[in-house]
Symmetry: C2
Subunit: 448 residues, 2 copies
């Protein structure tokens, strides 16, 4: 990499911390992967005349986006089936496809596709939950992507593991392997209350504390989940998680569409993080997460796309805009989740959920240099009255020109530098053909 | 234009009528601005070896999008103020800006900006409602854009007209001028029940019938409107419009967030068209349009972006996706408004609302050639399992490469052919500076 220093001189800097701030005529010095200085451009140029300078004259520089909940390899099933009730979608399309095809090679290609899409769209960190996490971890490391890789735990046999025990064993092996991957961390990823036993949850609680990693769990995705829990465990899912000692600031609870006021107060007291996936919740008609109330109660809410099989993108710009819009519509309050708060939810709040907000998620000296440059000179974002408004409400991920992760430029003027885009496209097309043919056969549909 | 014939050979054609159809290995012959033939590619090539051929090997060709409700010139106020209650947004920002600045020049530049944005995004027709409609009409004509231009009627004096009488007089003059503009039609655009008198509504009803043009009206945007109407007119807005003879298939009712079951049945019986603007409704927390129920009742629902001051884009791809998602979330039914129905709402249903569905809105022989080519080779839409799913749920307007309106190629490999993009960008920046400075002074804010 030669010189490990780079001076970035964008038109605007949106540090995210403090929330709402926009700096003009400022620059940023990257040194050894970290943000070494954030200062007026003139001062930086004078102090570091020898450093390579990257001018971004039409750009807003912001922290890279943190996609706090996804199943990246599912990008290969993007649009395979839509507009169906959850169980028909799963039973007729997603599960048969997974049972037939999911393995190391599927996960490698799917993850590489997802990484390409995410990096091109300004995402610099993702929190994943899928099978063959060891393969996902390798792909993230090779792409230079920051990631938290879930250790999947589910009481259903898959190609990855047959028993809960085997899920733990293989997951812990994967966790060991991460010592070689400086940007990749892990999290326990029990699937959901209705697919994981008390015994496994207890083991997760104890191991997660010992290993000091988060617990990433689908929770209260739909109303049906509550009745199921009462029938099987004699209590609501939130009470069961509480009884199992899981309602702590280590818990990353995904979806959370079924919350009453006391639930929200309890989550706030315990420091539970809520991972909000508005497109998935709407598309599957799962319910509405009370984001405005959670935010007002002080709960840390972070935004994720969910998998591309249900979204159908990994577009954090679209997801952040959607979160800001839906929060207003659902609460009846047009002041709920303003643009600057939505941007926090898409960056620093994701880092906070992972317990790494001192390392990334905002542009502050000392943090790792995870950055996205967004070209605001397009017609679609003209005129520029307020930069943060445009980043949230008007800009598209297609306006992202450059991305740095840990100081390394992984997207340079629209070109991926760590992923072989041509190979990924070719392999994606091959897998696409295979999956579509098998889906048509098993579902008996024929409409292109 | 030389040869007026062009043969298009895309990878896929999505005609929209019949709904859900995707053709492969087909082509389309444009002749004198119309779709002359739609047939297998091999047949067309054999029958017309002399015709200029445009190959679109990675593209889906679809009907151009119809943005059925917008205020195009307001693009200059994109992001000027956000995240405020409606009245503070209007009284502290939008109205002072309009009072100070709106005139022929503002509307020309704002409309040209909007036209550039819309054409780049695959929109080939828009239904507008703003002041200085004569200027909007000229701009649309010059850009080669299909448009329905509203004749604004409001009992509030503006720079365009001082009295209701003057609004009618100037609007009718504008209507006359349209004889020279083959792609531009007109519509009455009374602002809303609470800003237009019974007398003016009666005159609109009678003139609209005589002139055979639609009536484009903000109706039931918020719950507050209903109480206001009871207080002032002793009846609900829908009853008042009925008493005034306006509830017919000539009425294009925008927003309609406050509907009960009998209302929906009445709209269906009368053939009233509902213009749905989901982003605006969410952002301003206006309420929820019951799109799934309207659609099930047989009401013609068409999709619009509203103005960019409240959206903050004129992005019909984003709006169509949002409409499909919100319909499911709001109805609790994941099968509501599937992708193919959402695409109809964004194309043929808009044409139908304007009474012009025999002229455009779908790809059928005999119709005018209003078309958009979408490049699906990007990572963001790979793999391609189902084309219509991708057009609605995954593709971005930035993947639109080429656009034809009335057979004329107005976007060619991403470049505008009828709009001076450089001049528009320069003038937009000048206006942007002016508006922001005056907004800061009047609102006393200083945060960039």
């Amino acid at each position: 990499m030669g010189d490990t220093r780079e001076l970035l001189l964008p038109r605007w800097i949106v540090p995210v911390r403090p929330e709402g701030l926009v700096l003009e005529a400022h620059g940023l010095l990257i040194e050894d992967g970290a943000i070494a200085e954030l200062a007026p451009a003139a001062e930086l140029l004078e102090a570091h005349p020898e450093v390579t300078t990257t001018r971004l004259p039409d750009h807003a520089l912001m922290p890279g986006l943190v996609n706090i909940h996804t199943h990246s390899a599912m990008a290969l099933m993007r649009g395979l089936a839509d507009d169906l009730p959850l169980m028909r979608w799963l039973e007729d399309h997603i599960w048969p496809t997974e049972q037939r095809w999911v393995g190391a090679e599927f996960v490698r290609v799917g993850t590489e596709l997802a990484l390409a899409e995410m990096i091109r769209g300004g995402t610099t960190c993702f929190n994943d939950n899928y099978f063959f996490p060891d393969v996902t971890a390798v792909a993230a490391d090779q792409a230079g992507m920051r990631a938290a890789i879930g250790i999947p735990i589910i009481s259903v046999p898959t190609a990855w593991a047959q028993t809960e025990d085997e899920y733990f064993r293989r997951g812990l092996d994967m966790h060991q392997q991460l010592h070689d991957f400086p940007l990749v961390s892990s999290a326990f990823a029990p699937h959901a209350p209705y697919t994981v036993t008390d015994k496994a949850f207890e083991r997760i609680r104890s191991l997660a504390e010992e290993m000091d990693i988060p617990v990433h769990l689908h929770l209260l995705e739909t109303a049906g989940e509550i009745q199921l829990s009462h029938d099987e465990f004699g209590m609501a899912p939130l009470d069961r998680m509480d009884a199992l000692g899981l309602l702590t600031d280590r818990l990353l609870a995904v979806h959370m569409t079924q919350l009453d006021d006391p639930d929200i107060a309890r989550l706030a007291r315990r420091g539970v993080h809520v991972l909000h996936c508005p497109a998935s919740n709407l598309k599957l008609a799962s319910g509405t997460c009370r984001v405005a109330d959670l935010d007002a109660a002080g709960v840390n809410v972070a935004i994720g796309t969910d998998g591309a099989a249900s979204n159908n993108t990994l577009d954090m710009f679209a997801e952040t805009r959607l979160a800001a819009l839906v929060a207003k519509g659902a609460s009846g309050n047009p002041e709920a989740v303003p643009a600057e708060r939505a941007l926090s939810m898409a960056t620093i709040n994701g880092a906070r959920a992972l317990g790494q907000h001192d390392r990334f998620g905002s542009i502050e000296p000392g943090k790792r240099a995870d950055l996205a440059a967004v070209d605001l000179s397009a017609m679609e974002t003209a005129p520029v009255h307020h930069v943060i408004s445009h980043l949230v409400y008007a800009a598209s991920r297609h306006q992202v020109s450059d991305v740095w992760i840990d100081g390394r430029r992984v997207l340079e003027r629209g070109a991926l530098t760590t992923i072989d885009a041509e190979r990924t496209a070719r392999e994606t097309e091959q897998w696409g053909r295979r999956l579509l043919e098998s889906d048509r056969r098993s579902a008996g549909t024929s409409n292109p």
